[in-house]
């Protein structure tokens, strides 16, 4: 038995934190002897390509090297394909205000290598007032609001009720999809909220939020991205939702190391470029400080980083901390509940659904079933 989380954190920290604390010969041998266990842990936590890259300097492993490399290369190919698919759409968007979030741009900025992170949909932030125009462009390019069935290879359009469900109950419009020239489905998500449907307090005008977007050129394509501080804020909010949504936890282990790696790598790779005072100011301006604090707190709980601690102490000075809520989950007051186990247990379990199941109320189950039926 090895402590997989401890070893992985050590390997990752050795890349960024001083002193560069590399693995000892004995630890490397332990890893080789218990590689199967480490491999399954990496798969469960969705960090196989990261561990593959970082373990490379210690020589060749079996599954981690071969399957990790495979995943790493698939991520690269997928991202290049997405860039190619995006080109056509970008040419049609003209001056329509929008930014691209997550996906290929985020992977490159956070990890400096977009093989280390996978992505599925292509996500945009667009003000709700501009949705109609964005939808018109997507429809003209052959996209449909619907779902691709892998078995029948047919796209089934959403009903008006399904589209309305997305618009009224989530942070995004019903997803758009079309098949590219290779027959691969391209999914586009239009996000019109920075937080989530349960957060009725959000009153952020997205046109204002995205007005200082910056261009990032990848493979001859100029992607409109948020500045680093807003990018970090957006990914913190996205991951806070994943860590706290009863539906996402129920659906399948949404609290995982990959999401904490997103935050840690992003901060470590961009620490000196991020205007931290600006980051804190916008968190305060949009009343999002607590969500940021939550994500930073647990990222530091895992990685114990001096740089993270420094930022956390600044967040605490701004009164962003709410320690009582750190052990709660649920996105709205009515859904909020206390975890029955500590953070390490929920991070490392293979069945987070089991950990919350007994505490769910009838309305919680009803909501989960509705979302499940929609396949969100």
């Amino acid at each position: 038995m090895i402590n997989c989380q401890e070893i992985i954190v050590k390997i990752i920290k050795a890349k960024f934190e001083k002193p560069r604390d590399n693995l000892t010969q004995k630890q490397i041998q332990d890893l080789r002897d218990n590689e199967e266990e480490l491999y399954f842990y990496c798969e469960e936590q969705k960090i196989l390509p990261i561990v593959y890259i970082l373990l490379d300097k210690y020589g060749i492993f079996n599954k981690i090297t071969h399957l990790g490399k495979k995943k790493y290369l698939i991520n690269k190919v997928n991202h290049f394909q997405k860039l190619s698919d995006l080109k056509v759409l970008y040419n049609s968007l003209g001056n329509l205000p929008h930014v691209t979030i997550k996906g290929v741009g985020f992977a490159l900025i956070a990890f400096k290598d977009f093989g280390m992170r996978s992505s599925s949909d292509m996500d945009f932030i667009v003000d709700k007032a501009k949705l109609k125009e964005f939808k018109r462009i997507l429809t003209n390019l052959g996209y449909t609001q619907g779902k691709y069935n892998i078995k029948t290879r047919v796209i089934k359009s959403f009903s008006r009720e399904e589209c309305l469900f997305y618009e009224l109950n989530t942070h995004q419009a019903a997803p758009f999809v079309k098949l590219n020239e290779k027959g691969i489905p391209i999914y586009i998500d239009l996000n019109f909220k920075l937080t989530w449907a349960e957060n009725q307090l959000e009153d952020i005008i997205l046109d204002d939020f995205i007005q200082d977007s910056a261009d990032l050129t990848i493979n001859e394509l100029q992607l409109k991205m948020l500045p680093l501080e807003k990018m970090l804020l957006q990914i913190c909010l996205h991951h806070y939702r994943e860590f706290n949504s009863i539906y996402l936890i129920y659906k399948g282990n949404s609290i995982n190391l990959q999401r904490f790696c997103d935050i840690y790598f992003f901060i470590m790779n961009n620490y000196n470029k991020i205007r931290w005072d600006y980051f804190i100011n916008i968190s305060k301006k949009y009343n999002l400080g607590y969500f940021v604090y939550y994500v930073f707190y647990y990222t530091n709980f895992i990685f114990e980083s001096k740089k993270l601690k420094l930022i956390i102490s600044k967040l605490e000075l701004e009164d962003f901390a709410n320690r009582r809520s750190l052990n709660m989950f649920g996105l709205s007051e009515i859904e909020r509940k206390k975890w029955s186990v500590d953070f390490s247990t929920r991070l490392n379990t293979t069945d987070q659904k089991k950990l919350i199941f007994d505490s769910l109320s009838s309305p919680d189950i009803k909501k989960i079933k509705t979302l499940e039926n929609l396949g969100i």
């Binding site: 007032a129 949705l131 109609k132 309305l164 618009e167 009224l168 009725q200």
Partner: protein, 93 residues
């Protein structure tokens, strides 16, 4: 369109779905009377079918459907976009 008619269309839905009998104050919170997010979807589809309109994305907020007064206002705005009139002029007293 007469406000009386629009109110009747809205009330028909609310009486059926909220199992509420008697007068409904225009400013009372329908959420407290049981209008949840799923019923709002049914209400939107019902109004779109009955009035032959399509609500714009920017108007599709739960907050726009939480009282009868707000439903009338949102529907009037949508009707006005369809007919080219002003939201104030599209509904006659």
């Amino acid at each position: 369109m007469e406000e009386k008619y629009l109110k009747k269309v809205i009330m028909t839905f609310l009486f059926k779905e909220l199992s509420h009998s008697g007068e409904l104050n225009e400013t009372v919170s329908l959420i407290e009377l049981g209008l949840d997010s799923i019923k709002v979807i049914q209400l939107v589809v019902y109004l779109e079918t009955e009035l032959n309109i399509t609500f714009d994305d920017e108007d599709l907020l739960l907050a726009n459907f939480k009282t009868i007064e707000l439903i009338i206002k949102t529907t009037a705005k949508t009707l006005a976009k369809t007919t080219g009139e002003s939201p104030e002029g599209v509904i006659s007293k």
